[in-house]
Subunit: 226 residues, 2 copies
DNA sequence: CTCCGTCTGAATGTCGACATTATTAATTAC
DNA sequence: GTAATTAATAATGTCGACATTCAGACGGAG
């Protein structure tokens, strides 16, 4: 008797899920600003669906941390304090370390050239902040999705999306991109060499560096404002 | 100018949240079994509310991992494979390590006697599996909630609830409870001594031991069935 | 006897309307 | 002129009904 087939259900199947994806993109790409109110009637009108579907979409986005719902007061784009940004980066660093430590054993042989290709793509994108952000996300996603745990991957990528705007901020200078690439090189080398502990270290450092830059840039921004 | 007051909104305020709490309790306490279907109409009738409220409640529980929603096929109590149980324990061990490492610096002086009291409560409950499970949850929650990150605490406790039935299974023998207490003693001692690295180690070991026992008991159960 | 297609019943998906609550603007008292 | 109160507005909370899709029973062909 063969094992029962694990059917995969397309999360885009339902209407609320589609709405959630589109609103989520707008948030991650900073079209919807932190703190901005998301009125159900407005969104329902914009997407041509009923409020019920929008409500479900907002619940989905709340579970991803992109939206904050306050009872009787509606939904708004989650606005993070500097302390919260730091907190999320710290947790993600820990989880990214775990994922990359696992990746060393879990990466199938066929994934090795793909890993090198994604790393080369990083170097090609060194002069273009937008392209580098995309390439960085691509190799991160590849590593995390091949670490053997769907749950861990979703968690890390969810935290990544919550702080996407700060990561992008952090990678806006070429100096930082060079520092980032150095870490990625170390990580890829460790993975290909089978050194799990070193991989964990590089993965965590990668996130820590991003965190430190983002926080200092935020602090500068605050200093200018206040 | 004083900082604006951060209002706290009671998550029990809305009807769906109340429904979610009650269904969630039933799941954690194993009254609703893994894989059991949760029909919206049934639940709506049982709680005397409309389907819309039940739907929102089920979404909340899905975000906590207690319920799995399959598009067009409804909700059911999340059923975890042995591999998934192991995965959750592993992630929780990592996060618990991080939390307890932070706790060493974050625990306010007033929390020290409380920590010792909760530890003593563990010993008092050594002969009663039910009481020990409660005491274990209490000290875990205390540690995690005083580690300085609401986000991290919620995450750890959420994973804990998802595997609550297996933790309970693991702590069903007095031998295991003695092993658990030894780890808790080590953890509390490390915290009070200010040794963050040792605290991290004990915290992880605590979860690892629970994982190992639960998995071997699950394997035995499977062997009997198959 | 087995397998496939159809059909029936029941569940979820989606919607619009009403009830309730928060916000804001106007008004009045001081 | 300011502050507190109140009324109007606009948002969310909750509900019942209709549309759509899925699971299983039934029946017929091979």
């Amino acid at each position: 008797m063969a094992a029962p087939v694990q059917k995969t259900y397309d999360i885009y199947a339902t209407l609320p899920a589609q709405i959630a994806v589109r609103i989520g993109q707008a948030i991650v790409e900073n079209e919807f600003k932190p703190g901005q109110k998301l009125r159900e009637v407005d969104l329902a009108g914009a997407f041509g669906v009923s409020r019920a579907s929008v409500r479900e979409a907002l619940r989905i986005l709340e579970s991803e941390g992109l939206v904050t719902i306050l009872p009787q007061r509606g939904a708004q784009v989650t606005a993070l304090s500097a302390a919260e940004v730091e907190d999320i980066f710290d947790i993600r660093a820990q989880l990214m370390g775990l994922a990359c430590e696992r990746l060393v054993a879990a990466l199938p042989p066929a994934g090795r050239p793909e890993l090198e290709r994604l790393c080369a793509e990083l170097e090609r994108s060194l002069d273009d902040a937008e392209a580098y952000a995309r390439a960085s996300l691509a190799i991160s996603e590849f590593c995390v999705r091949n670490a053997g745990s769907r749950r861990l991957a979703d968690l890390i990528l969810s935290f990544g999306r919550q702080t996407a705007r700060y990561t992008k901020l952090s990678l806006s200078t070429s100096d930082r991109r060079r520092q980032s690439i150095a870490n990625w090189h170390g990580l890829v080398r460790s993975i290909l060499a089978g050194d799990a502990k070193a991989a964990e270290g590089f993965a965590r450092q990668l996130v820590f560096d991003t965190r430190d830059t983002a926080l200092s840039m935020l602090a500068d921004g605050m200093a200018k404002q206040g």
